[in-house]
Amino acid sequence: NMFFVTLVKFPMSIVVCVQLALHVFGDLLDSITVDVASECHRIARLGLERNLDEEEEELRLSAQARARIADPSNNVEANGKYVVDIFGQTHPPVANEIFDCMNCGRSIMAGRFAPHLEKCMGKGRKARLKATRSSTAAQNRYSRGSPVSTYSPYSSTASINRLSNGNPRAATGECSNGTVEEP
């Protein structure tokens, strides 16, 4: 037994010294161990380790999605509006969310917004073609751009965008008009 051999061969003070040193070292190590554990514990409990849960959730979702694709009964278009996408959602053929047009303030259905905006801002082809024909119309185009520095596309005060001629045209509607300030 090493302890007794040591006791016999070496003075007690040396043994004590070695033991003390080991004890001190153990203390230091314990402190550092607690620090490491504590930091990891904190990160875990505060959910700061983003990888953990997110990865698992994503893996789960993608496995689900793959399973759904593999299942042939989901993809039949003959179902009409009941086509199911890879997340198991169905979507109507025309987007049916309703919101307010930022130009004229009317309530518009999302799926009908593009055609509405065409008319609302001055229809793409027909209105512009009519306008370029007359020279006064050309003048109108340049004077129309009174700089509206408070113009915000998302404000509901659509009246800002109305001009004295009564036609609702957005101040930033036409890029050829260089007098308009962008917000």
Partner: protein
């Protein structure tokens, strides 16, 4: 002495009131005080921390902890648990050179403290 309640905290038994007056600090306590007062303890801590980080020991311990947390669920672990998990492994995987160097330095301090 009856101990019919499970102790949640590891605590040395309350000392008897009778030998309060004759309390002598242990050698370990004396040394600890000297270490702290001289600033040597703090220096040693920094030294050990640095060495253990550099050699990858800290990362190794963190990996073990994280694996354990992932297994148990992050809201299902106590600090005590985590400390218990890595303490034995931590002690065992200290590189010998680091241990030897630190012990040498501590022994030197002890000798000088004894003078």
């Amino acid at each position: 002495m009856l101990k019919n309640r499970r102790q949640s905290v590891n605590r040395p038994p309350t000392p008897d009131l009778t030998d309060d007056r004759a309390k002598v600090p242990t050698l370990q306590e004396v040394i600890n005080i000297k270490l702290i007062e001289s600033g040597e303890k703090e220096q040693l801590m920094e030294l050990v921390r640095e060495k253990l980080t550099d050699c990858g020991w800290k990362d190794e311990m963190e990996t073990i902890v994280r694996a354990y947390i992932k297994k148990q669920g992050r809201n299902n672990v106590t600090l005590d648990e985590l400390v218990r998990v890595i303490t034995p492994k931590g002690r065992a995987s200290i590189p010998d050179s680091i241990k030897a160097e630190l012990l040498q330095r501590i022994r030197t301090f002890l000798v000088s403290a004894a003078l």
